[in-house]
Symmetry: C2
DNA sequence: CGATGGTTTGAGATATATCAAACCTCGTGG
DNA sequence: CCACGAGGTTTGATATATCTCAAACCATCG
């Protein structure tokens, strides 16, 4: 019995494209790995040697300039795919925001396996296309939205992406309350703002009664309509 | 004889994955279309009914907010692929910046064809992954770079992307001089700036002797090193 | 408790946006 | 051929959102 048999993202990750035999073959070249919050799985500019599926936790993809400015260019959740198959170097680092568990493959092995399994490549293509869509809509946020609109948009996306599929009662409605997997600085790095501006926008949204902040890492959306209006 | 036989991007587009027979089959479901500068091929939010290969010209992908702010989220060149296969709606409009020629397919037809031709899907995957890389590095520009850095980065990328492969003497060096396929406003929409700020940065780079501007649409890079330094 | 790292709040500086006017460039029609 | 007009562009003066620098604040953990 392979680890895949009990994998909780088995049916949501790209592995869903594979049948029992194939999964078994794939499991031969992959292995689990646990990451502590803050630990990195790959570094910017490094040769792309690994790819992985996220089993549990939240990770950030980030790049920076020479002089230390950072920009988070993506956030991945359970069942998402990480890494750059068929490619030279990875343009961004990958770091766990929460404790996380991933299923890693040597890129060369994965590439070879994928090329022999078109259904897997197809899933990967669908995922990559979806990720590209999300990334592009994020460009609108970075290029054209104000600080207030940025934070509101971010909180709304967060409330949608953090739902555990099939976990609770309701059919995957966006969350009313959730724990942010980001520090204030990291929120700033997602939105292209400074930590102070982010903090001020948080307090403003709270003062306006649109959200509540039970603790630094927790957010409650009190008035989703208003938050959507703020998101522009 | 199909139109593909004389297609100038035959060997660079995703079609390069196909052999003679397959190309013939694909050519049955596609057709050429000419676009005048300014003409749109698809609109934001519209059902994704078309996909296409760019044969000639430059096109922009753009989104906007309700209140009319616009952001260009991608620029495509000859041999690039346009559209959203396997997907519901297209998140951005596609508009020709120059007169252009594309090879369009009904998305449903293309999807079906692609699923039967893994080599084609593989090419598409590689392209999509590369585009995602480029888009993410653009996020760093939008989120963290100053106006001057943005314009310098933009001009450098332009000088690399506008080379006609195999066209000239030299082996695809970046261009020293080129015609911008963008108006000042469009440059602003790429960089997340206003037209005035873009204009001021152009004149500053010119005043500093880093570039020359023979005409409004033409750029000469006088000092590439300095421009790279400006790009941050 | 007192230290530590993250966060909030404040006051001031600055890059970019905004508003407005002058300026080209180019095509059109007199 | 020249005057005219229209769009796009540049330049200028001013406003403002966001950044920067600095201090106070707060939770957590030894």
């Amino acid at each position: 019995m392979s680890a895949c048999d009990t994998c909780i993202v088995r049916n949501r990750s790209i592995c869903a494209a594979l049948d029992g035999e194939e999964i078994k073959a794939l499991s031969m070249i992959g292995r689990r790995r646990d990451l502590a919050a803050g630990e990195s799985l790959m570094w910017e500019g490094e040769d792309s040697v690994l790819v992985a599926n996220v089993i549990d936790g939240v990770l950030k993809l980030s790049t920076g300039t020479e002089d230390g400015r950072e920009q988070i260019v993506g956030v991945v959740y359970p069942s998402d795919f990480i890494g750059r198959p068929f490619g030279s170097t990875s343009g961004h680092g990958v770091t766990a925001l929460t404790d996380a568990r991933v299923c890693v493959f040597a890129r060369r092995d994965f590439d070879a396996f994928a090329r022999e399994h078109p259904a897997l490549e197809h899933k990967l293509l669908e995922r990559t296309l979806a990720e590209l869509d999300r990334t592009r809509s994020w460009m609108l946020l970075l290029g054209r939205k104000s600080a207030g609109e940025k934070l509101a948009t971010f909180l709304l996306e967060m409330s949608e992406r953090l739902v555990q599929p099939g976990c609770h009662d309701s059919p995957d409605l966006p969350l009313r309350q959730f724990a942010l997997p980001f520090s204030r600085q990291q929120v700033a790095d997602v939105l292209g703002l400074t930590i102070e501006t982010v903090s001020r926008q948080f307090t403003r949204l709270k003062a306006d009664g649109i959200i509540d902040l039970p603790s630094r890492r927790e957010v409650t959306i009190l008035d989703r309509e208003a938050l959507q209006a703020e998101a522009g």
